[in-house]
């Protein structure tokens, strides 16, 4: 009776056993990359909206300040989506017959809210507060990116915890003077770390130990 396995099978077996280590490594690496990818975090993907609202037009083109619509950002945990009334401040006279804006006018007539799709959606176990960030010198742009260049709004950053911690560990790398909070394309007047350290002291931003404590964001 002849041998079932050929001699070369020995080499093949060794190669696969040895290779399995790499295969496993590759799988772990792939999962790691995937979990951080834009596909999973939904960063850079424009979301469908009932009205194709363009921040590029309103902010970049017309120069409307973020707070004209997002009025509660300084004083509350959330930066409100404006009520339809705010849209109608201008659109009662401008583009007042545009079919694209019909859902806005319908909402104003019927007093039914427009169901906007949330773009930057944190998990419900994160108690994020806009006002504390804005008042301590974190600019809109630092998290939301160049909104003034977004024809349709999309999330820029992963919003994953490691991304939050980048700043909570080293706030001096990101903070800016309060008067530039809503500035898009802010350039620090000098060395960011030097200005940042000064601002961290001036705004009494807590140390990294307090900022990275679990209960700072999770309760």
């Amino acid at each position: 009776m002849s041998q079932i396995f050929r001699r070369s099978t020995n080499t093949f077996t060794r190669a696969t056993i040895f290779g399995a280590v790499f295969m496993l490594g590759l799988t772990v690496w792939a999962i790691d990359r995937l979990s951080r990818s834009d596909y999973v975090t939904r960063a850079t993907q424009a979301r469908e909206q009932p009205v194709p609202f363009s921040h590029a037009h309103h902010v970049g083109g017309l120069g409307v300040d973020c707070q004209y619509c997002h009025t509660s950002v300084e004083i509350s945990s959330y930066a409100n989506i404006p009520p339809t009334k705010t849209c109608m401040n201008c659109h009662s006279q401008i583009w007042s017959t545009s079919p694209t804006l019909e859902p806005v006018r319908a909402s104003y007539r019927t007093n039914q809210s427009i169901r906007w799709t949330k773009v930057n959606d944190l998990p419900d176990f994160v108690y994020f507060n806009h006002s504390i960030h804005v008042n301590k010198g974190v600019g809109c742009e630092s998290c939301h990116g160049r909104v003034d260049r977004m024809p349709l709004t999309y999330q820029v950053n992963s919003l994953q915890m490691e991304w939050c911690l980048n700043c909570h560990r080293n706030p001096e790398k990101y903070v800016r003077p309060r008067e530039f909070i809503t500035t898009m394309g802010y350039q620090p007047a000098g060395d960011q770390e030097e200005i940042g350290r000064k601002l961290v002291a001036e705004y009494k931003i807590q140390n990294a130990r307090a900022l990275t404590s679990c209960s700072t964001c999770h309760r």
């Binding site: 989506i81 009662s92 039914q112």
Partner: protein, 192 residues
């Protein structure tokens, strides 16, 4: 052998899939602006029951909340001292909420006007220079003509800050070099 493999595969896929549960991410609770299936209007935020006065919101300071004096007419009084901090706050708020139409100088040639909105009158007419402060406050609160009200967007204290800043703008267009303190005049070099 085959069953073992199937079981192993099942266990593995369970382990992987369990990470996809989003129950903690999307908890059945209301956060601001989250829609509701329970209420007829689809909103989780509920209107205040009529006649309710929240603690500290009796708003009985007539001058502060309406801009009107005891006689019911627009008051010239400010309900707070006009300080530099108030003016700076007013400048910031003015630049956010008013400049789209009134522009940064108050001439009424803002970006939205250039795009077709009815042009507001300039602040620098005799008529508007002589209106009492309470009148400007009332216009911000209730709107006037084509101007919508800003009651929801600008809180009362900020409305007064804006009124103070509009007064400063009006002054700035009528000022002479003698109004500028001598030590501050060299800061005007940039203006041409």
């Amino acid at each position: 052998m085959r069953t073992k493999l199937t079981l192993g595969g099942l266990a593995l896929s369970l382990a992987v899939l369990s990470a996809c549960r989003q129950d903690m991410h999307d908890q059945p609770k209301y956060v601001p602006l989250r829609p509701s299936d329970f209420f007829a209007d689809g909103r989780s935020a509920r209107p205040i029951a009529e006649g309710t006065v929240a603690r500290g919101h009796l708003n009985d300071d007539k001058l502060f909340y309406t801009g009107k004096g005891a006689d019911g007419r627009p008051s010239q009084e400010f309900p707070m001292p006009v300080t530099k901090a108030l003016l700076l706050r007013g400048e910031q708020r003015y630049n956010i909420y008013c400049t789209p139409c009134h522009d940064r100088t108050g001439n009424g040639n803002g970006m939205i006007v250039r795009r077709g909105y009815r042009r507001p009158p300039t602040y620098h007419s005799d008529r508007l220079r002589q209106q009492p402060n309470g009148y400007l406050y009332d216009v911000i609160t209730n709107g006037f003509g084509a101007m919508p009200d800003y009651a929801a967007q600008v809180q009362p204290a900020d409305r007064w800050a804006i009124v103070a800043y509009i007064r400063a703008l009006q002054l700035s267009q009528q000022a002479s070099i003698n109004d500028v303190p001598p030590e501050a005049r060299n800061q005007l070099g940039g203006a041409k």
